[in-house]
Amino acid sequence: MENLILQLKNQIIEVLNLEDMTAEDIDAEAPLFGDGLGLDSIDALELIVLLEREYGIKLSNPAEGKQIFKSIASIADYVSKNRKK
């Protein structure tokens, strides 16, 4: 799980252009939206694309998103249970 969390951190830094930020700067348990990383709705779309492209996960139920994208740790948990690749 630690490896997956690190991989997700690096992928998120890349796709969201979080320059000046390293994986160590991101708390896996911190909120991604609002406080914490302060991501917005466009970033949420980018994360959905990331899950599909890198892990073959299609989010069919938007209501799930709030829980899945709560933190890096919650994304890692969901990916580990649902990944297709």
Partner: protein, 175 residues
Amino acid sequence: MTTLAHIRITPSETLLNGKVISNSNISGIYREFIGDYPKFFKMDSLCKLGFIAAELILKGQTPEQKENASIILFNRNGSLITDRNYQKTIADDNYFPSPALFVYTLANIVTGEIAIRHKIYGESSFYVLSHQDDEMMLDVVKNAYLTSPPSFILTGWVDYEDEGNYLADIKLVTK
């Protein structure tokens, strides 16, 4: 028209009111003078250029002055570099379009980024011209005073072709 301030940014130098203040590139200028707006890194190149120009030229303007200001910008390349980058993300059969790129496939987004940052609520508009036509640009700016006159207008040329070819030539003007 009275010019309150003038900024000119090229790949080789940045001049504020005729004085060279930096020789850095766009991200270098951000780190040198701004540094407190992480959203900058999510912007496309045109927005980054317009954003840093506005940051530098608007220093000294009060929130009250900015609230009633207008933004009128012009360029030649529109958002072409981002349009091309976005097109690359949808070129393959099994494509994954990038929402973060898509939102910048309009040149006028730069006026919105500036307005959001500085809480500017006046008119904003963006014109794509074949060349830097100062006479036409001045006409457009004068027309902005025909209805509800702004406190000042942030106006000028902001064009990004590639990392070696860009120009922000922006003024704050008032009647």
